[in-house]
């Protein structure tokens, strides 16, 4: 048996240790050594304030009474945590972006920084937390009583009430000392969080130690425990599907909406990545806490005398086995659970009360005073003292409420039942929270309606009856309903009888809450601020910064600085103003009061006093500058215009790119043509000069005289031949010029294509007559009438065939001639089996003097294909190079019916580039 004095001494020593740790952590944080303090491990451990004394003592009692059902309280949070990517990540991001100080602040900020919602949520949280805090006080008191034993020892058995009072007072003191040192909730309470993490380790170690002792010390190992479970009363436990599902849901909701969970999970979060670790580590912590619950319950039921309170098995089992030290550890574990929960809960609630109740009231009061005094400008004094005082009083008040609940409810009832009442209470915040996070259409009116309805039903159907029948609610009311209206009975609303009271209350409150929230949201129209905030919350991952709530500045920066100093302290405010001025490129402490500056200042203040209060404070200075529907529309249409403008720009730039491509092609063509023109001139000079030279040389010989007649005749013959060659060249040029100018006269008459090809082959046979060509023809296909200038067409054919004869470099040259009629056109293909024309040259062969191979070998002027092209155009047809035929291939196509040759003059006027 542990002496009571020793127990008290241990408690005091433990509290002192917490003080030291918290002091050390605060100091380390001030010195900037925050890396270790802000590690994912500390974050995860701090989340463990979910496990309160209710878990530590109550879970075993719960298991002894309702078997496995206790696990739902930890399975719900497990599901929420492993689904972190979906919900918690968004919540934490919003918390950081909006500098949210509490869950009431979150709801108020989301719905247009409405203080009304802040007050409602604060009220729900305070009322719902009261039984929970009472539960902690009760469990600590119960555990003290276990050690106090039936007989007074040491300095006497303090009576139960006095113990509770001492515990409550001590907790309030500790919380006030550490919880209200920093004003900015976003600056995080390193000291508290580290102390909480330490307490998390203590309670885990204590519970696991008791569990290990139970399984391997009292029972005979795992197999024995499983046998004992099968033999114990717990084996008869029948699962109630409704409670199993419902409690899991409620626990999942509670981990999101309990003020203290929100405080450690969102407000105290320093790095989103910690969530990734917590997503598995916190469920693991819960698993370890739950692992030994059933064994302890089973062994406790078997070993301890009948009638023992199962809520205290964790303590009484080691005591009964004469394990004083283990019992002491278990006691400290339970003490840890209770203290950590009360501390954080009290801080969270105090922040809410001071930010959403005290400060707005004070602001309103001041404004009225100043209006009465006739002062125009609102001057705010030092708010820090007020805020801190209100928080300290709130902490004391919250603990006092818990004490009162404990006293009134008589400290009776199982721990689990009390805790669940709180869960249903805070779950009322869930619809507004989820709706606000994922639905832009959720409105302030909807949230307010849902919250109030849910809160009212919860009060009526669960909270008030929890004091015991006849305490706060008359017996008659419970049995017959108010004024005898049966369907309003607190535990059988709308005639839903026979249901578990907890599920009954949870169902009706949440159904009415969510239903009203959705319905009212659907029919109301949100204010501009709500819509701005709704966008900022729902699309938190998509936008760079929070939306602006101010349309113009204009207030005196000096006044703002004075006000900010009152809220966040002189040094901090000056630093902030200086940084903002520097960001604007100004020196000194007074930045321009731009809308952006207003927004930044508001966010900074919101970190201290909550969004709604900060907004109201800024509004004093920027009266009329708050954003309006017109501004929203303007922003939207501005964005729309930008979008349209950029679409136009894009279209224009595409068009420009197209034009540029066309220009560049034309330019290339022009450059090539210019090169060609130069080449043409030099070629023509060259072509004219060669025969001229020989004519001149031979005529000089003739002039000298004294030649034999045969030589004379030979030289005259050469001169004649060269003159003919010159004439032919000039004829060609003339011909080309005539063709190009469209002044050619065509004599169109019917002819047989076969005959024309025959003529062409015969005529071209003289070109390099030494080469024997194999000609492939399809005579049957060739017999078709053509209406064209036959001589001109034959000229084209001859040119193409003699080209083939000249240039085909195959060892056994072949020429294939194919004719066919396609639609209204006749096509004649000439395909040889040579190496063809390289792709790069294909575009140029139809130009004048384009010759691909050495001139001497070719022996022509290079005008042939150019003339062919001009002829074919005059005939209304075309000659094209046909790539990919296994050799050089030309296609001559011409209309089957006679056509009026296009007016070349008109075409030239239009300036079309030759194709």
């Amino acid at each position: 048996m542990v002496p009571f004095n020793l127990l008290v001494a241990a408690c005091l020593a433990y509290v002192c240790l917490l003080f030291v740790v918290a002091f050390w952590a605060d100091g380390a944080a001030r010195r900037g050594q925050v890396r270790w303090l802000r590690s994912p491990l500390v974050y995860t451990l701090s989340l463990s304030i979910y496990c309160t004394a209710w878990t530590f003592y109550g879970a075993v009692g719960y298991a002894a009474r309702s078997g496995l059902e206790f696990a739902t309280i930890y399975l719900g949070p497990t599901l929420v945590l492993i689904g972190w990517w979906w919900l918690l990540r968004k919540l934490v991001r919003i918390g950081r972006m909006q500098r949210v100080t509490s869950i009431a602040d979150l709801i108020s900020s989301r719905f247009g920084k409405s203080n009304l919602l802040g007050v409602i949520v604060t009220a729900i949280c305070v009322v719902a937390a009261t039984p929970y805090i009472a539960l902690q006080l009760q469990s600590v008191t119960l555990s003290f009583n276990v050690f106090a034993g039936p007989l007074p020892t040491g300095w006497g058995l303090p009576d139960r009430g006095a113990t509770v009072l001492w515990v409550a007072g001590g907790l309030a003191l500790f919380t006030i000392l550490f919880g209200t040192r920093n004003l900015d909730a976003n600056e995080r309470h390193e000291g508290i969080v580290t102390a909480i993490a330490l307490e998390a380790v203590v309670k885990l170690v204590a519970l696991v130690a008791v569990g290990v002792f139970t399984v391997w010390g009292v029972a005979g190992g795992v197999a024995d425990i499983l046998d004992r479970i099968a033999d114990s009363p717990i084996a008869d436990w029948q699962m109630a599907p409704g409670r199993w599902t419902g409690l899991m849901f409620l626990a999942g909701a509670a981990v999101l909406t309990l003020p203290r969970m929100f405080q450690v999970m969102v407000v105290e979060n320093s790095d989103e990545r910690h969530l990734a670790t917590a997503s598995w580590a916190f469920p693991l912590y819960l698993l370890l806490m739950s692992l030994f619950v059933v064994p302890i319950a089973v062994v406790g039921l078997a070993v301890l005398p009948a009638g023992s309170n199962p809520d205290l098995f964790v303590l009484t089992l080691p005591l009964a086995q004469q394990q004083g030290a283990l019992a002491m550890l278990a006691f400290l574990g339970g003490f840890s659970s209770a203290t950590s929960m009360v501390i954080v809960e009290a801080i969270a609630l105090a922040t809410m009360v001071s930010n959403h109740v005290v400060l707005p009231l004070w602001l309103r009061l001041r404004r009225r005073q100043q209006q009465e005094a006739g002062q125009g400008m609102v001057v705010t004094g030092d708010l820090r003292g007020l805020v801190l005082l209100s928080r300290r009083l709130s902490i004391a008040g919250v603990l006092a409420l818990g004490y009162a609940y404990y006293s009134v409810s008589g400290g009776s009832g199982a721990l689990a039942a009390i805790g669940l009442i709180s869960f249903v209470g805070v779950a009322q915040i869930l619809p507004a929270m989820l709706g606000g996070l994922f639905w832009r259409g959720a409105t302030r009116a909807g949230a307010a309606a849902g919250l109030v309805a849910g809160f009212a039903v919860w009060l009526y159907a669960l909270f008030l009856p929890s004091f015991g029948s006849g305490n706060l609610m008359p017996e008659a009311l419970m049995q017959a309903g108010p004024w005898g209206i049966a369907w309003l009975r607190p535990q059988a609303l709308f005639g839903l009888e026979g249901l578990d009271p907890l599920l009954h209350a949870a169902f009706w409150s949440l159904a009415l809450n969510a239903g009203l929230f959705c319905a009212v949201s659907l029919v109301t129209f949100p204010a501009p601020m709500e819509r701005l905030q709704g966008l900022a919350f729902v699309n938190v991952f998509e936008q760079a910064g929070p939306a602006r709530g101010w349309t113009r500045g204009g207030a005196e920066a000096e006044d703002l600085l004075a006000m900010a100093q009152g809220v966040i302290g002189a040094e901090e405010a000056q630093d902030f103003f200086q940084a903002q001025a520097a960001a604007q490129g100004k020196a000194g402490f007074l930045p321009d009061t731009t809308p952006d500056f207003f927004a930044a200042l508001e966010r900074r203040l919101a970190g201290s006093v909550g969004a709604a209060t900060a907004h109201a404070m800024i509004a004093q200075f920027a009266a009329g500058a708050a954003v309006s529907v017109q501004d929203l529309m303007a922003v939207a249409s501005e964005a729309q215009q930008i979008l349209e403008y950029s679409t136009q720009l894009e279209a224009k730039s595409e068009e420009l790119a197209r034009t540029a491509r066309a220009l560049s092609e034309a330019n290339d063509k022009l450059r090539a043509l210019s090169v060609q023109k130069d080449a043409f001139l030099s070629q023509i000079s060259h072509e004219l000069r060669t025969p001229m030279t020989s004519i001149r040389a031979f005529s000089e010989i003739l002039m000298e005289g004294g030649l034999e007649p045969p030589d004379l005749a030979r030289y005259a013959g050469i001169i004649h031949d060269e003159a003919i060659r010159l004439t032919r060249l000039l004829d060609d040029l003339l011909d080309l010029s005539v063709l190009e100018n469209g002044r050619v006269r065509l004599s169109v008459r019917p002819a047989n294509l076969h005959d024309l090809i025959d003529r062409a082959l015969r005529a071209a046979g003289s070109t390099r007559a030494d080469r024997s060509f194999t000609i492939h023809r399809d005579a049957a296909a060739e017999h078709m009438p053509v209406f064209t200038d036959a001589d001109r067409l034959v000229q084209v054919f001859i040119n193409v065939i003699s080209n083939a004869r000249k240039y085909c470099d195959a060892a056994r040259p072949e020429l294939t001639i194919r004719t066919r009629r396609r639609d209204s056109r006749i096509e004649v293909d000439f395909i040889d089996n040579g190496s063809g024309i390289p792709a790069a040259a294909q575009a140029l062969i139809f130009e004048k003097f384009a010759r691909l191979t050495d001139q001497t070998r070719a022996g022509g002027a290079g005008l042939g294909l150019a003339i062919c092209r001009e002829i074919m155009e005059n005939l209304g047809g075309a000659i094209t190079y046909l790539p990919g035929q296994g050799g050089a291939a030309f296609r001559v196509s011409l209309p089957a019916r006679p056509v009026v040759p296009p007016s070349r003059g008109a075409e030239a006027d239009a300036g079309a580039a030759p194709a």
Binding site: G32, V34, R35, W36, S39, P40, G67, L68, A71, L75, T78, L79, V80, L81, I82, G83, W84, W85, W86, R89, L226, I229, A230, I234, A235, D236, W237, Q238, M239, P241, W244, T245, M248, D271, E272, R273, L275, A276, T277, S279, W280, P283, L284, L287, S290, L291, V294, F541, T647, E650
Partner: protein, 98 residues
């Protein structure tokens, strides 16, 4: 003109990461289904009913399994948050091993 700047198709690495995000979203759904399963079991007394001991083992095994899967997903997804989260304080060497 595309409606948004987000690419339609992703490289293998980002694609994997997206699927990990999907898995992280699905995990609680599967977890809830697995933990709801016991409500379909018959009562311990009835024929074919499972005992509380079996139920306890089942719940804890599912629980451990979920934690394991969450651990794997968290490791894979941590870099994805790192990309968009604020960079940590620049001062001092990194003490964390991960």
């Amino acid at each position: 003109m595309p409606q948004s700047q987000r690419p339609l198709f992703l490289a293998r690495r980002s694609y994997r990461r997206r699927r990990m995000m999907d898995a992280a979203r699905l995990l609680p759904v599967f977890g809830a289904l697995a933990l709801m399963l016991p409500i379909l079991w018959r009562a311990p007394g009835a024929a074919g009913g499972r005992s509380t001991a079996t139920g306890t083992v089942y719940v804890f095994v599912v629980w451990a399994l979920l934690i394991g899967l969450a651990f794997v997903l968290a490791r894979r997804l941590r870099p994805a948050i790192g990309d968009e989260a604020d960079p940590p304080e620049p001062a001092g060497p990194t003490l964390r091993g991960d």
